[in-house]
Symmetry: C2
Subunit: 611 residues, 2 copies
């Protein structure tokens, strides 16, 4: 089999593959058109040619076309040019052609994956994709389960739903079968391992008491005073703050774990926090880690969390562990070989440089990032967004579970049906109801073409990491430069990102005022975003974020220090405005023209900085 | 302006409008292709012609096309033929061409409506659509707010989120400003009207204390023991059962209100329940009514609920009132004239029959249904699914609020920004995060073409109601018929649906065994669904439901009685298996060939019944 050519997978920044795209979309459309015609070929048409020639018929069609032109105009006037290498902002770039064409094809058939009956074709695809994603996370394909959500936010909610209900399950079992756990006290019941809880549920199921236990579980509702704590790093996505509100948990039960200098969860602080909770006999609802923070691209040290999780297990303390890998999930494919094995560190380094994925000079991945990705299958569930690093159009988030038996606690109709060929109602096991089967079709067809390993997705994601590394490297090596306004400027990166996000800021040489520095960068952002008018006329487009002491403590100080801002300024202003580039584009890496790209970028900055 | 021709709005059961569809999709696709090319025309291509001719490039493209053919094959093999008049099952039919083409166009640009920055074009459309839907519900366009959700389930969750947080707001205010409510006791605080609560929040906002109040609100979390009761009819959608679990409310706080013989909420039972709650000083979290129950198409007597709501208000008892009109929402357009006024009853009847929307013989709407739709703007929020009676592809649910100031309680970043031209971050005000702007484009462009009144959507929905009425009428008038097996059968409808759902069942003449009758109908369903193989080869496709005493008490008894099943059989079996046809097709009504359609339907039934 020929190697995958990444450039053939996208429509391209200049619609380079437009002939293929047009031909294939027309094929898919015609397939649908004739499918309708061929359903009971003898059925008569409902609309006659004669009617099609009438005045009101033609006028209605004119209206449709005019309105669609107007929609097209609006889309063209102010949509974000994700496809271009001039766009380095949010988690967007060009999407994969099979993904977009698969999505378009799916929408023509309009399946609803809520119930098998509404989508015999695409429900199966969704479940298949779920197992693929679980397997990609290192879960046992026989035990994992996953599905597509409208986005990572809903996937995170579902994880919290599992965690909260799993915490309550032992009490529901005890209430139905008082002798079930023998002499266990409440603290012990709150500290059963997830496996023990699911095993208990299995016993209950075999005894035919599942329905009764679920009834009890759902009857009680929430008591936020008795609920355990949710431990999550400061760098978390804000959906977690919405989550604790929605689930009735309350922010009082959300404990923010500090981050280290590289914006990863501070493991010492995590340990201290857990010790403190154990001391006061406060249960832990869940620990959540992030693989690919949305602001900094940091990868939490999953392996270290697993290590302490094992340590506490020996002390009889257990908790649910979820990974929010909405952004970073697909990056795990880089570490997986053609036999679906996690590649040895040295072998990986060799392959990455030998097979020309990543320049020899690139140090990625360092040992921590490697070990973190390796340890992921120890988590109870993982959020992975196909519409982020899966390069699929919106909406297509996803969640994967280690142990599909967890579904029993959600079942809103019949208990979970075993076996993959059984028609499965998704609705009773998920937060959402009606949902597009088109998303499943898009992901399914893309996974068919692009293996979830180093030869497929790994290659695409590695290219983006390589590009980010080049970008970061140029920033570090950048000498002070003179802008069009005659002043001199420097630029520095926030940190070495663990994947492909580069956060950076400019400062005027000699400036020691943080407000002024923030102002310089805010102005750059304004000129490089929708803020100052349609992006179609921008020469560079990026995104921004603000790092505050409230969210990050003094961690960002070392960064402002790199830009020659003194400590007392940091203490005074307590926030830094930064530019944020998620470098997902597959068209920047291994590119002999990167120098040209960088020169153009700096030229634009020179011209617009403080103009 | 010419009248809208409904047949010109759909691709058609036989792809009758395929030329238009193909031409327009190609136009939209080319617009996108050239948009990319025209973004900085001097930027070089990233993929060369030479590379496009290489072996691996061609092989990759071959892979994409082969996989997409495979996807297409699977879609064609087992997708539901919603478009055909042979499909009368779930809430599906052909979708509107502007909706599907708008969706396809949107996906090409892949906007993300979570943040304005990801979708300058489509965020505005989503907010515009939100106001349109609110206005369609009778809300003041200046005060309403709405947005698109992934589905009705999430819209219902959001309503419960508002209701639960509004109940807690007075306590949060009191905690921050102890003197705010003077001498009010807890019972009074629990019974502030929604308006009073929002007004109080406005005062707090003006005093600059909103952030502090929200912090307090979110800090506490849920205590299901202190939480009020959620009152909802037995006929509710099962998403409400998931909702009370997710929100930590617990099923103990969900009170099912009985339904009447026509499957509408029993107002007397509602009143008794409220009286009982007042007596024990138990607060009411919310009352939820349904406009278009998913099983029976029943429309709850909204006007009567509003009446008693006003009555209790005088007694100092208030509650949040939400309408789940996920299915029935768009039917309100039938009642709205060109000047956006709710049409007088007699004038409506005249227009419906004179303008040939509905046959003169059709009694729809009866006075109750009319008054129910009229009273809808008194609700605090309403769920309306564009992907149901809005004839838009999945996913496109929606919620509309009477008073947009409610958003203040959700704001997860800056407080709500006033004014429609302000770039608005949707993310902080909604449950979901990343979300397709394509859905907004689809609904927006469709609303541009099809007015949300009797001349536009009203005409389409009325056609479906007319078809349901014809179908129902034929069932009622149907004489006992002889099937291919030589036995005689009768058929009866469950009730006169309030909109366009017809539920019915067959029985063998002389059979008085309910198990046997259930078996007859289950077998029909099996033969008319995916259960017995690909639906592409079915001659008729429908859906089913089971009405049980557990869910409905003895209400279904009168129906089984119509089919000559004695009372003792109902008491013994306690459930009836029925066929359920949501008649959304615009191609059945006002159709001179309805007789032909019915004859074919009965012929199919004769052949497959008990074969």
């Amino acid at each position: 089999m020929s190697e995958q050519n990444t450039n053939a997978l996208f429509l391209g920044p200049k619609s380079e593959n437009h002939q293929f795209f047009r031909e294939t979309l027309n094929m898919l459309m015609d397939e649908h058109i004739y499918w309708r015609r061929d359903f009971h070929p003898d059925d008569k048409a409902c609309i006659s040619h004669k009617e099609q020639r009438t005045e009101d018929f033609c006028a209605t069609m004119d209206n449709i076309q005019e309105a669609l032109y107007d929609l097209s105009n609006k889309l063209k006037n102010s949509s974000m040019p994700w496809f271009s290498t001039r766009y380095l902002g949010h988690m967007n770039t060009d999407v994969l052609m099979p993904g977009v064409l698969g999505y378009l094809a799916g929408i023509l058939y309009n399946p609803n994956n809520c119930a098998y009956e509404g989508s015999p074709a695409t429900t199966g695809m969704e479940l298949e994709v779920g197992i693929q994603l679980g397997t990609m996370m290192g879960y046992d394909p026989e035990k994992t389960w996953g599905h597509i959500t409208s986005g990572g936010t809903v996937a995170n909610y579902e994880a919290l739903w599992y965690a909260r209900n799993l915490e309550n399950i032992p009490f529901a079992i005890k209430s139905v079968i008082p002798t079930f756990f023998g002499e266990c006290d409440d603290w012990q019941l709150l500290n059963l391992s997830i496996e023990e809880t699911i095993d208990a549920l299995d016993v209950v199921k075999k005894e035919g008491l599942l329905t009764e236990v679920l009834k009890d579980l759902r009857y009680t509702g929430c008591d936020s005073d008795k609920m355990g704590k949710l431990l999550i790093p400061q760098s978390r996505h804000y959906s977690w703050d919405k989550a604790v509100d929605i689930f009735g948990i309350g922010s009082k039960n959300l404990i923010q774990i500090k981050v280290t200098e590289n914006y990863r969860m501070d493991i010492d602080h995590l340990k201290e926090t857990i010790d403190r909770l154990i001391e006061s006999k406060t249960p832990i609802l869940a620990v959540v880690a992030v693989v690919g923070t949305t602001e900094e691209g940091a990868v939490d040290d999953i392996h270290k969390i697993i290590e302490i999780k094992e340590m506490y297990k020996k002390q009889g303390v257990n908790f649910y562990f979820h990974i929010d890998a909405a952004y970073g999930g697909y990056a795990r494919t880089i570490f997986i070989d053609e036999q679906n094995k996690f590649i040895d560190y040295n072998k990986l380094k060799t392959r990455l440089s030998k097979e020309n994925f990543i320049n020899k000079s690139t140090k990625w991945p360092n040992r921590d990032v490697y070990e973190a990705f390796k340890a992921m299958p120890h988590a109870d569930s993982i959020t992975i967004d196909c519409h982020k690093m899966g390069y699929i159009p919106y909406p297509a988030g996803a969640i994967a579970l280690k142990d599909k038996r967890i579904l029993d606690i959600l079942a809103y109709n019949a208990p979970y049906v075993e076996g993959k060929n059984d028609p499965l109602l998704l609705g009773p096991y998920i937060m959402e109801g009606s949902k597009a089967g088109a998303a499943a079709g898009a992901v399914w067809v893309t996974h068919r073409i692009i293996p979830l390993n180093i030869t497929g997705y790994g290659k695409i994601v590695a290219r983006s990491i390589e590009a980010a590394d080049c970008f970061n490297d140029r920033i570090i090596k950048m000498e002070p430069f003179v802008a069009a306004n005659g002043k001199k400027y420097i630029v520095a990166p926030l940190t070495m990102s663990d994947i492909n996000i580069v956060v950076f800021a400019f400062n005027e040489v000699g400036n020691v005022n943080l407000d002024k520095m923030n102002d310089i960068n805010e102005k750059i952002y304004n000129r490089c975003s929708y803020v100052s008018g349609p992006v179609y006329y921008k020469r560079f487009i990026t995104s921004k974020t603000i790092l505050t002491t409230e969210e990050y403590g003094d961690i960002p100080y070392s960064f402002v220090d790199d830009l020659n801002i003194p400590r007392k300024e940091w203490d005074r202003v307590q926030k830094v405005f930064v530019l944020r580039a998620c470098i997902m584009s597959p068209f920047l890496a291994n590119n002999t023209s990167f120098k040209e790209y960088w020169d153009r970028f700096i030229k634009i900055m020179q011209e617009i900085i403080d103009e």
